[in-house]
């Protein structure tokens, strides 16, 4: 589904990704772990299409399409979803209104007719229950006055509404207490299928107790330096990243 080959990317002249390669197939859950500054969030931003980065070489294909050639919105319409590490607050734009616009623009892209108001509302009801998001939050302005946990649940709610092929969760566990973590992870697991894939980016092994990965990759200094099964996460938790660094 997603194939990243030898990706080099820099921002303001400093190189962050230095030859990163990664392949994700449908039905798989991948986790990327690594120390601060390794380039984890950069990778997430580049997949979603953030324009601040300069790609000097390498390529990313998504379902056979050249992802780097697509606009931010076209990537989303093709099925890429980024759950933000720091969800933005947008005063005056209601959560529901924005999601309705998003869903209908994605449907239009796929040649489908817009969702009726009734179908849309029943979808909101069903999907907000998945992450215990209060219905009143769904109708409020996007993330405005939401707690940290509510913002993250709102991200997973949006993911549930948009049903992406590839979900990239950028440090979704940061700032969450154990209960919120369980809810968020529960939402992600409920959305898992053989047709979609999940890329979990995290610092800590804790999240992976709830979202169990098929593969764990260690990102260090702009490259994936080690790949293993879920047990690699436990090993990292125990030994720390220095173990990887010294193995370099």
């Amino acid at each position: 589904m997603l194939k990243i080959e030898n990706l080099h990317a820099s921002i303001n002249g400093s190189e962050i990704l230095k030859g990163l390669s990664l392949e994700i197939n449908a039905g798989e859950v991948h986790a990327i772990m690594g120390p601060n500054g390794a380039g984890k969030s950069t990778l997430a931003s580049i997949i979603a299409g953030k324009e601040d980065y300069e790609i000097s070489s390498g390529n990313i294909s998504f379902d056979g399409k050249d992802l780097l050639e697509l606009s931010i919105e076209d990537r989303a319409r093709e099925g890429v979803f980024l759950a933000f590490q720091y969800p933005v607050e947008i005063p005056g734009v209601s959560n529901v209104n924005f999601l309705k616009t998003a869903i209908n623009e994605i449907r239009e892209h796929k040649g489908l007719t817009p969702l009726s108001a009734k179908d849309f509302l029943s979808l909101v009801k069903q999907k907000s229950a998945l992450v215990n998001l209060d219905a009143s939050l769904a109708s409020r302005a996007v993330n405005e006055g939401f707690s940290g946990g509510e913002k993250k649940r709102n991200e997973i709610f949006q993911m549930a509404m948009l049903e992406p092929k590839l979900a990239v969760l950028d440090e979704t566990d940061s700032g969450l207490d154990i209960d919120a973590l369980r809810i968020v992870a529960g939402g992600v697991n409920a959305l898992k299928s053989q047709e979609n894939a999940t890329l979990v980016i995290t610092h800590y092994q804790r999240l992976l107790d709830y979202i169990v990965p098929d593969f764990v990759h260690v990102l260090y200094d702009g490259k994936i330096v080690k790949t293993g099964g879920k047990e690699l996460a436990l090993e990292l938790e125990e030994k720390g990243y220095d173990w990887i660094k010294s193995a370099e």
Binding site: P87, V88, I90, G92, F98
Partner: protein, 400 residues
């Protein structure tokens, strides 16, 4: 040197309103004394150039005095169109008069300030005087529509609204139509009685090279409430002057504004709130979005007089510039002579929130649609304060 104010007034007709002789004389003296249109050296006109206005060749629009009756509708309609004005049957407690029919006594409470009001005093050709009896609660909104059309026309009107004690009304004022090289000068005096409540939504959406000057003066008595939403959308040239006189205790004033400019539009909002009495509140919130080479001006002044203690005055102005060449000049001003007051003011200008734009696009929304959503969101608190459903609808369409 800007053009001659005297010559500008000469091409217009002398006023048909019966202003008190002293008032007329003061306007004449002021025009003689100033001689020329103000230049950018004058503080009140620092960012608004009047050269093009001074050079306009104009034919005044004379308004006929007896209104034609409009069919009854959900609103009390007053329509100014070319040389005519129409209105429909008023409600109990509401009286509509041609302002030219008012006696000199009716204008006594006013003094004139600035060249917009001076020109108006000397050349106004009519207007509507709205009188709401004390204790009357109007069940229908009053709607004044100005359809401005033609070339090189000058529509100069002086309206008045007197709201009796404990009365309540909702007013909509609309300026629309397409005109070229035309001039509009509308002075509107509001007298808000004790305990009375007036909500006014003002929409300016004139098309063509139209120069609009709008001056509102509001006199508030004890415990009265006045709310004004000024919405200016893609007008070639607009100057708004709003001056509020809080004369007695317990008044509340709300001044909200939203202005949207594109191409080479110029939109200027000047407000001045005089807190002369204690225990009053005022809340001012203006938001602007400018694109292309549009320019905007916000100058909001609040003055708290010495004996006006326990005043709560809030003022905010926020602007978004969508292009490199759009430009805003913002100047919030506070002048406080009392020592027990709560006042705040602030102004910010920036670009569209790039993080928010990225977020919306990352959810599949096109850049154009996402921009539109963010602008709507930015304007939401102003548009939300509008009570007129017609103006609400128009704004939603205009923002789409």
């Amino acid at each position: 040197m800007t053009g001659s104010l005297i010559d500008f007034c000469k091409q217009l007709e002398p006023t048909s309103l019966k202003l008190p002789e002293l008032l007329l004389q003061s306007a004449k003296d002021a025009v003689e004394f100033q001689h020329h249109f103000p230049s950018t050296r004058d503080e009140a006109w620092k960012y608004t150039r009047l050269g093009r206005v001074a050079a306009l060749k104009l034919t005044p629009v004379k308004i006929n005095q007896s209104p034609e009756r409009l069919p009854s509708s959900d609103t009390i309609d007053i329509v100014f169109e070319k040389e005519t004005w129409h209105c429909n049957e008023p409600l109990d407690g509401l009286h509509l008069t041609f302002s030219g029919d008012l006696d000199a006594d009716a204008w006594n409470a006013c003094t004139l300030h600035g060249h917009v009001q001076h020109i108006n005093a000397l050349t106004a050709q009519g207007g509507v005087a709205i009188h709401v009896d004390a204790n009357a609660i109007l069940t229908k909104p009053i709607r004044i529509i100005h359809r401005l059309q033609g070339e090189n026309t000058a529509a100069i009107l002086h309206h008045q609204l007197v709201l009796g004690d404990q009365a309540s009304a909702q007013l909509e004022v609309i300026f629309e139509g397409t005109s070229e090289n035309s001039y509009t000068n509308v002075l509107f005096d509001f007298f808000i009685g004790a305990g009375a409540n007036l909500h006014t939504d003002l929409l300016q959406q004139t098309h063509g090279t139209h120069y609009g000057f709008y001056s509102q003066r509001i006199f508030q008595k004890k415990d009265s409430t006045f709310a004004l939403q000024t919405l200016t959308v893609n007008t070639h040239f607009t100057r708004n002057e709003v001056e509020v006189f809080s004369q007695e205790e317990g008044t509340h004033t709300q001044l909200y504004g939203a202005f949207i400019g594109k191409d080479s539009n110029h939109i200027d909002n000047h407000t001045y709130v005089h807190h002369k009495a204690p225990n009053c509140t005022s809340d001012e919130n203006y938001k602007g979005v400018l694109s292309g080479k549009a320019t905007g001006v916000f100058n909001g002044k609040v003055k708290v007089y010495q004996d006006a203690q326990k005043i709560n005055a809030f003022q905010s102005n926020k602007n978004i510039l969508l292009s490199e060449s759009a430009n805003i000049n913002a100047k919030p001003e506070l002048e406080i002579y009392a020592d027990d007051v709560k006042c705040s003011h602030g102004s910010t200008t920036g670009q569209l929130d790039q993080q928010a734009l990225f977020f919306l696009r990352a959810r599949g929304i096109s850049e154009a649609k996402a921009t539109e959503m963010l602008i709507k969101g930015f304007m939401a608190e102003i548009v939300g304060a509008v009570k007129s459903s017609r103006i609400q609808d128009e704004l939603q369409t205009l923002l789409d």
